[in-house]
Symmetry: C2
Subunit: 324 residues, 2 copies
């Protein structure tokens, strides 16, 4: 990555980020995204200054109305005086590298009408795996005194598992009246919810969806991972109906986390995941740099002289197998 | 993992797997799943004997009818004399570790009526990331002369990216008449398709879905990654309508891969991914073993004295930052 003339060292931007400069924040996030080695020290400094924000994950199947809900929350929380940060995670296409979902328009409008800072990002790095920049963006906003910081995650899959580790409070949004097939896959997200929200409460099917969710939760109650019993709410993001209930539930969960010590437990788990993700990221980067050793092992695996595990062990300098 | 008395060394099972013993195959897959160090040598031997099968990935959003299509393909290909292998990949729940989707019944019935070997597996390992066992199961079936081997993958997300690297021919199944929101997320899978199939061709909406898909493909044509122009077919898995078209397209794609040399390119990419995944897996295992170094770094990250990147660099024994 060549830097333009007039490139300001990232460390110089740190005080500006800390004092809340939107330009400095935007620039720092871009540098995290670009993976500039030069930015590592600045990001470390910002990490050390972060840790105060309430991080809220909002997830749910496509079509659930996440962006609309986020837009409504931005407006409402901003009016109450909160400096809201949003990291909207787009699924990135593996081939084009481009983002897929477009309708962030309402959200951007909401951001412009307030002091909120909204950034769309790719979940996956160019080498695959959770992009470190996604969580670094949260650190940056956190260090800049944004709170709450909303992570909006699209879709179903590995990202939802990661988001539960990144967010203190996970809101899972379900659209009313989706078919059973779709409900089935949602089972995976249902388990990570701290708060359930059925969107479009103005629709007649919403009440039935709330009842169905409550039924499913009762069935799965034994799997609950804390004293917290996830409430099931119904909200209309468009009209704002019942939005206050959601905000109250989010506040109540935050208080619960702090009062019970669960916050510390979650943060520790979150740190563990981040270190591992980062190590894998750095490690993969090392391998991708066309290292001769790697190419030699690859050739042997392609010719089926060596299996991938043996090749990986050689590259790691290890001779051990897997766990016994 | 303690082994029972009478445990037979995995290497002893290798000749039985190679000669097609179903019991030996099932046992070897279980040992791969368990991650037994003892099985590593046997898996390496099987890997060296694999490499002949045509691997077909079948993917698509939940509700598209994948399991029904796979069941129909098993029956039809078995009747033609093929020894069909199936690795059905279930999304595993991050908390319960349990599989979510249940309706594999039709598929199992189809398997019992034939010589096919069907195995359901978790995509993700207990440490997260693609479970090495998933691809090792494909190796095992491959070494046991199964071909084609169908990998059925549920849902949307990272798994679809991995499957395209594991399969020679990727079939993406779309249900007719799903809403635009669902179509949008499918864009990510559409790009990895070698063959598009609209399911439930008996439904009136199927023709419109075929037309819509063709339209989307025309728009995205510039992104195509080979000379192959993915056909769009409509199939009724239940009635078997147009199934021959799909089988012909799969055969045509296989011939195309071999004739153009694209097969070698794909296999090389696939090996690269496997080595990297395996290295990350081994590496993470090393870290998870409660290593003192790791816990010390974790503590510093929790206390925000050190950021995750610096911690990862220390654990790797590296002092470099990221790519410049």
């Amino acid at each position: 990555m060549t830097k333009r003339a007039g490139y300001r060292p990232s460390l110089e931007l740190v005080p500006e980020v800390l004092s809340g400069s939107r330009a400095a924040i935007a620039r720092m996030i871009s540098r995290a995204e670009g993976g500039y080695a030069e930015a590592a020290e600045a990001l470390a400094a910002l990490y050390r200054n972060a840790g105060k924000a309430h991080i809220i994950g909002i997830t749910g199947v496509p079509g659930a109305g996440k962006s609309t809900l986020v837009a409504t929350l931005i407006k409402s929380l901003s009016l109450e005086g909160h400096k809201v940060g949003v990291v909207a995670v787009d699924p990135s296409s593996p081939f084009s590298g481009g983002a897929i979902l477009g309708d962030r328009i309402r959200m951007n409008e909401a951001a412009q009408a307030s002091q909120a800072f909204v950034r769309s990002m790719a979940t996956r790095g160019h080498l695959g795996g959770l992009a470190p920049a996604t969580l670094q963006a949260v650190d940056i906003l956190d260090a800049a005194q944004y709170s709450p910081i909303i992570i909006e995650s699209v879709g179903v899959g590995q990202d939802e598992v990661e988001i539960v580790k990144a967010a203190h409070t996970v809101v899972v949004l379900s659209p009313p009246g989706l078919g059973d097939d779709i409900q089935a896959i949602k089972a995976g997200i249902l388990e990570i919810a701290d708060i359930h929200v059925v969107s479009k409460s103005d629709k007649p099917e919403a009440a039935a969806a709330v009842a169905a969710l409550k039924g499913m939760l009762k069935l799965g109650a034994s799997g609950s991972r804390s004293e917290w019993s996830p409430p099931v709410l119904s909200v209309s993001a468009v009209s704002g109906e019942h939005l206050d209930n959601l905000k109250a539930a989010i506040r109540r969960h935050w208080t619960h986390l702090k009062a019970t010590g669960e916050l510390a437990v979650r943060q520790r788990e979150f740190c563990r995941t981040r270190i591992l993700n980062m190590a894998r990221h750095l490690f993969q980067e090392q391998f991708q740099e066309g290292a001769e050793d790697f190419e030699r092992q690859l050739e042997a695996v392609v010719r089926r002289e060596v299996d991938p595990m043996a090749a990986a062990n050689v590259l790691l300098g290890w001779n051990k197998g897997r766990h016994e």
